[in-house]
Every structure is written in C-alpha cells, then in structure tokens.
C-alpha cells in the first residue's frame, strides 16, 4: 500500500505532542485533549468540517436552508440577486442624494447617515422570483426557495431623512437608484417610505455585505427584494411612479384574465420544510420536522404540517419570538414508522391569509406567469427506504 503524507501525519498526531502545534493546526487530532489548541485569532472561521455554501446559478446565489438553524441567516450565506454585478464602492466616497419634490435637496455621506438616530430590526428579504421553476426530485430546500434570508438590519429610518429634506405635498412616490452597473431603479410609494423603510448600513452586527448593498441600501420590510435597491445613490421624490424597466417589463405578473399586475410589492405568506428534505435519509423513529415560515403581512400566526400528503394537518410549534416580517422557525414531532409518506407545511399569517396550493395559484395565475410571487405549499416524499426527495408537481 502506498503511504501518503496524510497517513503519516494522522499516525504521528497521537504520539507527538510537544512542538507539533503547526501540524496540529492543519490536521484534526485524534484526541484534542492531548494537543494544545489554536491561539486566539483576529478573525473567526467556521469549523473545518463545515462546508456550508450558497448555491450559485448565474447571477443568483441561494441560501442553503437545509444547512441552517434558527432564523438568522449568516451574512455570508444571504442570497444574492443582482443585475449588473456586485459593485466595489469606497465608503469614503459614498453619498446619497435626495432631491425632487423636496424643500431642501441634500447630500448625505455615510458618516452623515450614521449620525442620525438608528434602528435595528430583524426582517426577511425575499426575491419576488423565489420558486425553483425546473426542479427535479433532487431539489434541496435552498434550490427550491433559497432566495429568502433573514438578517438584523441596522440603519436610519427613511422617514427621518425625508423629514430632513422636507417632502412637498405633491410628493407621493419616490425613485430609488443604485450605483451598480445596472443603475437599478424602482419606484416606491411615499406611504411605505414614511412607514417602515430603512436606509440600512448594518447587517447582523457589522457593515452590510457588498452583495447586500454595501455601504448602504434601501430596505422595505416585507416587500419584494428587487424594490429594496442596493448600493443606493439617489432618491428622487416625485408625483407619480417612474415606470422603470424593473417594474414594467420585469417584476409584473400576468394573470389568467388577460391582465398583468404591477407594483405587487408585498410578499405573501409561505412556509418551507427544511428537514427532512433532499438529500436527507431518515431512519425509522422520531423525526423533528423543521422549517421556516414568513409573511410580508406581519407575523406568522400558525404553521400546519401534514405527514400524509395533505389528508390531515397538525399545528406545528413556533419558536418564540415570532417577529413581524421575519423568518419564523417551526417544528413538529413525527414518528416515522416506515412506508412512503408525503410531508408538507402551510403557513397562516396574522391577517388570516392561508398559503395556497400550487393548483390554486395556477388556476388564478396561469402557467405562463409562474415566475414572480409564487408561494405554493410544497412537499417532500419520504420513500420507504428513508430517502427523501422533492415532491414534483406539474406546471399547468
């Protein structure tokens, strides 16, 4: 047998203790109590065995929900969607211009933004097109619905800045513009801007990540992610929407009645079982079914789980605190005694809205519209062998 360097190191690790800290740092010791551990470090790292990653597909990367716990998405696993790449912006040169129908057009540096009274809020962000369109049995939760993530966002309420510039009575809409290569623009109603919109510069306790809009972005809680313009450089107050490409030719939903809906900002209630799911394999006995639920309408009131393909439903346990417009973790104990089973979840939000079935959505929306604002109940098939696969459903 050929002896590799790895074999030699593994064999030596147990026998040699002193003077081998360098070696111990690069190879996992057989007995960690017999090797001095690593010194302190300026920047922490994930455990070597943890290989968690976003799923990258073109200009999209998805959060791997199957690998996560709780409700906070680690910032480096927050989903990405951008239309002109991730720009590199020098925070010292960053500025936000607010002009249009205002009394005092103003420019704010990043330092200016940070001088204003700040708030921190935990909210989900979700891409309007968060449903894996072509999804075979080997679809993971991240592939199926990985374009949603939850962070604690810190920043200044947009209302504070609008008060600073003095919005004129005719100012009913505003344009938000990014400084990426797409110079992406969306129109936002003034009512939302004054209600709970943030100019966010913090994410999970540190500066917002470049992929999420560094150094500052618009954040509209509960609304489709595209409207929360990243790398925000300009806000123009106006008396009408601007009808940008992203709110006309894209991010609109054709309906079966021959119309197309525009400015459909709010994300509706949805739930997703993250375990068990593909690629898990179950053993008989007790299983804790786990997942997340969220709604742009406020709080999740209830999540129901079925382990028999929707024939009967039981209330899942919700992890407190249940926050408004944030991922909510649910759990449900299930004793799998063998045999094929289909597990599903459905969310009910505080307005009483019930997450629809795919058939209900397609009846209203038609197969040609199935890109944006699709939030159907989805399921996983536990096969008799214990293998778990995505429950495929036909489009139309």
């Amino acid at each position: 047998m050929k002896v590799t360097r790895r074999d030699l190191l593994a064999g030596a690790a147990g026998a040699v203790v002193l003077g081998q800290t360098t070696r111990a740092q690069t190879q996992t010791p057989v007995d960690p109590t017999k090797v001095r551990g690593k010194p302190t470090s300026a920047m922490g790292q994930r455990a070597r065995a943890e290989k968690v990653q976003r799923l990258v597909r073109g200009n999209i990367s998805s959060t791997p929900h199957q690998d996560l716990m709780g409700i906070i998405t680690p910032s480096d696993l927050h989903f990405e969607r951008h239309h002109g790449g991730v720009p590199e912006i020098d925070p010292a040169n960053y500025s936000l211009l607010i002009h249009g129908l205002v009394d005092r057009p103003m420019v704010f540096s990043l330092a200016d933004l940070k001088r204003f009274p700040s708030v921190s809020r935990i909210h989900f962000l979700e891409c309007s097109g968060n449903l894996g369109r072509v999804a075979g049995p080997e679809t993971t939760p991240g592939l199926l619905a990985g374009l949603t993530s939850t962070s604690e966002w810190s920043g200044v309420p947009l209302a504070t800045l609008l008060k600073e510039v003095g919005v004129q009575p005719k100012g009913t809409w505003l344009l938000a513009e990014g400084s990426d290569a797409a110079v992406l623009t969306r129109s936002v109603p003034m009512a939302k801007a004054l209600d709970d919109a943030l100019i966010a510069y913090g994410q999970n306790g540190e500066a917002i990540r470049p992929e999420q809009g560094y150094p500052a972005r618009l954040f509209l809680p509960g609304w489709e992610g595209n409207a929360s313009v990243k790398w925000l450089r300009r806000i123009e107050v106006s008396d009408a929407p601007f009808m940008t490409r992203e709110e006309t030719s894209k991010y609109t939903e054709p309906f079966a009645d021959g119309t197309a809906r525009m400015f459909s900002f709010q994300m509706d209630a949805r739930s997703l079982i993250t375990y068990p799911a593909f690629p898990n394999t179950l053993e008989r006995g007790w299983v804790e079914i786990k997942g997340i639920a969220w709604t742009g309408a406020g709080r999740i009131r209830r999540v129901e789980v079925s382990t028999n393909g929707g024939a009967t439903w039981a209330a899942a346990q919700l992890q407190e605190p249940v926050l408004s417009m944030a991922h909510t973790r649910f759990r449900h104990l299930w004793n799998w005694t063998g045999g094929e089973a289909v597990i599903m979840s459905r969310a009910v939000d505080e307005t009483g809205y019930v997450q629809p079935t795919r058939a209900e959505l397609l009846k209203l929306r038609g197969p040609g519209t199935a890109i944006y604002h699709m939030n159907p109940i989805t399921g996983w098939v536990v096969q008799a062998t214990g293998r778990v696969i995505y429950k495929e459903e036909a489009w139309g």
């Binding site: 057009p105 001088r115 600073e164 623009t185 021959g258 197309a260 809906r261 309408a297």
Partner: protein
C-alpha cells in the same frame, strides 16, 4: 358634558405618565438634525438620468431607426440577435400574438418591447442607464434616441422615418399599456396593531 369617573382617571393617568417620562429625561427629536449638506444643481443634474412616462427627464438630442440600426449591429446584436428576435439574451422584437394578452396561458411567449412593455420611455431610460453591459452608460443621448427609434420601429410601433426626441418619444402608443393593472390583492395588506 360633565366629566365621568373614567375621564378623571384617564386624565390623571396621562398626567402621571408624562410626569414620570419627564423625570427620567426622555429626549425628543428635533424637527431637523442639520446633518448632510445642500445639494448643488450641478451635482443633481450629473446623476439625475431618469425618464418618466410623460417624457419628463428626457434630454436634448434625437435619433432615427436607420441611425440606430448601425449602432445596434455593433453594440447590441451579439446578445439580442441580428433582428432582436434571436437572443440569446432578452428577445426585444415581436408583436405576436397581436390579439389579447395571453402571457399567463403561454409560458413560451417572449415578453418583447412590442408585445409587453407598457411605456416607450422605459426603453430610453433603461438603455441609457444600463446598456451595453460591457460598457454601461457609455452611449450618447443621440445614440440612445437612435437605438430607441430602431427598437420601436422594429416592433412596428413607429414609422421607419420617425425622429425620436424629447417631444416625440412620450407620445408613442404602446399596445400593452391597456393590460397593466396596479396591485389589487385584498386588504388588509398590513399587520393589524
């Protein structure tokens, strides 16, 4: 109306809360903080590039479909196809199916400028800010007018000799406009207090 017992109690409670809050010194936000600096007209004009459906924001300049065809062939055709119908990126040209708006029924129907875009001004706005991806924002206003004219003419929305400028562009009628409706999902859309 005389004061009831409840009124007296609630008035007293309010007074008490105010007093306690005052005692611990809760700070009140000023009308304005005075952070930031006034924007100059020049710096606003330098990045105020948006165009509205009624033509507000359109710059000086002009262009025709013939002029646009030359630019399109060099800077656009490699991604959108020789005639705008071939791809591989977004298909820009095509009026089919001409009757109705059956996008919900047919997933394969491309969303072109001619059959789906509701406003002609959006073409100018988007091309000027984001195209071509290899050199975004590099086109002159005349080039953007010319490309807009080329795309509108290819979609049979304006005659071949039409000049697109800040007065004519907003007047181009878009067939899809009539099919767009604003948000109509039932209320309440906000959490109840």
């Amino acid at each position: 109306m005389g004061l009831t017992h409840t009124h007296v109690i609630s008035a007293a409670t309010t007074w008490l809360v105010v007093t306690v809050a005052g005692a611990v010194g809760v700070a009140q936000a000023p009308p304005r903080f005075g952070f930031g600096r006034p924007a100059t007209p020049q710096e606003i004009a330098a990045i105020d590039i948006d165009v509205m459906p009624d033509g507000r924001g359109l710059p000086a300049g002009r262009g025709t479909a013939a002029e646009g065809a030359v630019i399109y062939a060099v800077k656009c055709a490699q991604c959108h196809g020789k005639t705008g119908k071939e791809g591989p990126n977004d298909i820009l040209v095509g009026r089919e199916p001409r009757i109705g708006f059956p996008f919900a029924q047919n997933p394969k129907l491309p969303h072109t400028i001619g059959n789906y875009w509701p406003y002609a001004t959006t073409v100018f706005d988007y091309v000027r800010r984001a195209m071509p991806p290899t050199a975004p924002g590099s086109l002159t206003d005349d080039e953007v007018y010319a490309l807009t004219a080329f795309l509108l003419n290819a979609n049979e929305l304006i005659p071949a000799n039409a000049v697109m400028d800040r007065t004519t562009l907003a007047g181009v009628a878009m067939p899809a406009r009539q099919y767009f409706v604003p948000e109509s999902r039932p209320t309440p859309r906000k959490p109840r207090p």
